[in-house]
């Protein structure tokens, strides 16, 4: 099997991540609750992961790292935590439904989705900043589009938000583990990360770096702290971490983070970008194929979308699956991105690479695509 669906979740994980799953049984107590050694050891293990994440992301306050179920949970917590009735929000034109659906669900707020073309940095900055109004409280921006790998200018937009006292939320589902953050300085208020993608943790894990404490919460409950108080704690991480944490997942995530720290985000992103260039150079020449690609390394990551004329992307992805090649076809839960990129009708087929993919796998994929293209062309004749 060849796995090119790493934007959905990375596979395989480093062997240390799988090994950690086995060792997690030693930490079977509930963190922050009991007063016995296993409970304290579990708390310590969880804290070690917070600390490793903080170090990776260049952030000096491990206690402001919140563990979640994934980037979607983070985005819901940040968006609904910061917006109140009557507020206005702005988002980029390349947002995932993890941003757009929470915004749509809030009937007492308004929002503007900026419209801007693919792989154009300056127009992205202008469109997002121009959409800001006097009543705008929050701007949300995807750092790397899950559809096209388009790297959005989040630092420039973040600086604009700082100057205008607007909360800036970044969807880092596709960028954490690929981009070297320095969050003590970066103009980002909430960084929403998946644990199971570029950080190589298990599915069902995520983390959010919070420079602010959100006004509203979407889940309340026990935290093992200030238990006599029936109000949700006002301090992080407890404000956003009600109920039992996913300790096995967090222990495994710690190993994923260590793997990324050892390899380095730059080296992983350069390698996956190299694979995109390698594939695109030949894929784009196959009859009927259109790729969504730019030569500019500052604008595209290790993700490549493409279409084959006269074949629906979902059907093509299924056919590739029959050949043992795992890709994703369709709209990738990001209709807004497809609308701006001009592929909303049928979507695209997406290749998303990880540090574990090889050029040999890329060769097999290219040969398969050549074969499929010939078959489709001959059927048409």
């Amino acid at each position: 099997m060849i796995y090119f669906d790493n934007s959905a979740t990375t596979y395989p994980k480093p062997s240390s991540v799988y090994a950690a799953m086995g060792k997690a049984s030693k930490y079977g107590a509930n963190s922050g609750r009991g007063a016995y050694p296993m409970a304290f050891k579990t708390s310590e293990k969880i804290y070690e992961c917070r600390e490793a994440a903080a170090e990776l992301l260049g952030f000096g306050k491990p206690e402001n790292i919140v563990f979640t179920q994934g980037a979607t949970s983070c985005l819901n917590m940040a968006i609904k935590g910061e917006l109140s009735a009557g507020d206005h929000a702005v988002c980029s034109g390349y947002e995932h439904n993890a941003v757009v659906r929470p915004l749509n669900s809030m009937k007492n707020i308004t929002y503007t989705a900026a419209s801007h073309p693919l792989f154009d940095r300056e127009k992205a900055i202008k469109a997002v900043c121009d959409a800001v109004r006097p009543d705008t409280k929050v701007v949300i921006c995807n750092h790397i589009s899950n559809v096209y790998g388009f790297i959005l200018p989040v630092m420039e937009i973040g600086r604009f938000c700082k100057e205008h006292n607007i909360t800036f939320i970044v969807d880092a589902a596709q960028s954490a583990g690929y981009y070297k953050y320095n969050l003590d300085l970066d103009p980002i208020d909430y960084l929403c990360c998946a644990g199971h993608k570029g950080l190589y943790g298990l599915m069902g894990t995520g983390l959010m770096v919070c420079k602010k404490t959100p006004r509203n919460t979407i889940i309340e409950g026990g935290t093992g702290s200030v238990s006599k108080n029936t109000d949700q704690p006002d301090f992080l991480p407890d404000r956003l971490e009600s109920g039992t944490l996913n300790t096995p997942g967090i222990i495994a995530l710690h190993e994923g983070i260590k793997y990324v720290s050892r390899k380095g985000e730059k080296s992983i992103s350069e390698y996956t970008r190299y694979l995109v260039k390698y594939v695109n150079a030949r894929l784009a020449n196959i009859p009927g194929v259109t790729t969504y690609y730019t030569d500019d390394d500052s604008l595209q990551s290790g993700v490549l979308s493409f279409c084959l004329s006269n074949m629906n992307p979902v059907d093509l992805s299924q056919l590739l699956g029959d050949y043992g090649i795992c890709v994703r076809g369709g709209c990738h839960c990001a209709p807004l991105a497809h609308k701006n990129g001009g592929t909303l009708d049928a979507g695209t087929v997406r290749l998303s690479f990880s540090g574990f993919n090889t050029t040999n796998e890329a060769e097999i994929f290219l040969k398969t695509m050549n074969k499929i293209s010939r078959e489709v062309t001959s059927q048409r004749k």
Binding site: S31, G32, R33, G34, A35, F40, S43, E44, I46, Y47, R50, E51, P62, E63, T223, G224, S225, V226, S227, K228, N229, P233, F235, P237, D238
Partner: protein, 84 residues
Amino acid sequence: MDRCLLVCSSVTYAQRAKKQLNNRNIYAAIIKTPSEASLDGCHSAVSIKKDDLARAVKILNEMDLTIKKVYLAHMGEIVEEMKV
């Protein structure tokens, strides 16, 4: 032996305090705050030697790590709240 209990908001703050103090050669252990010192419910505390208190408080203040209360404890029993 007399110990000082530094009461933290949550186990996460206690873990951070413990780690920072241990890194600076102050032996610190986490305990669940005894009920008479638990303020508004469950808390975690960092237990240190009384002699290390002034240095520990200075280190934690420098890190902007808030300590809710400090208690003097003898043989595991709270003796008094300490002003720091």
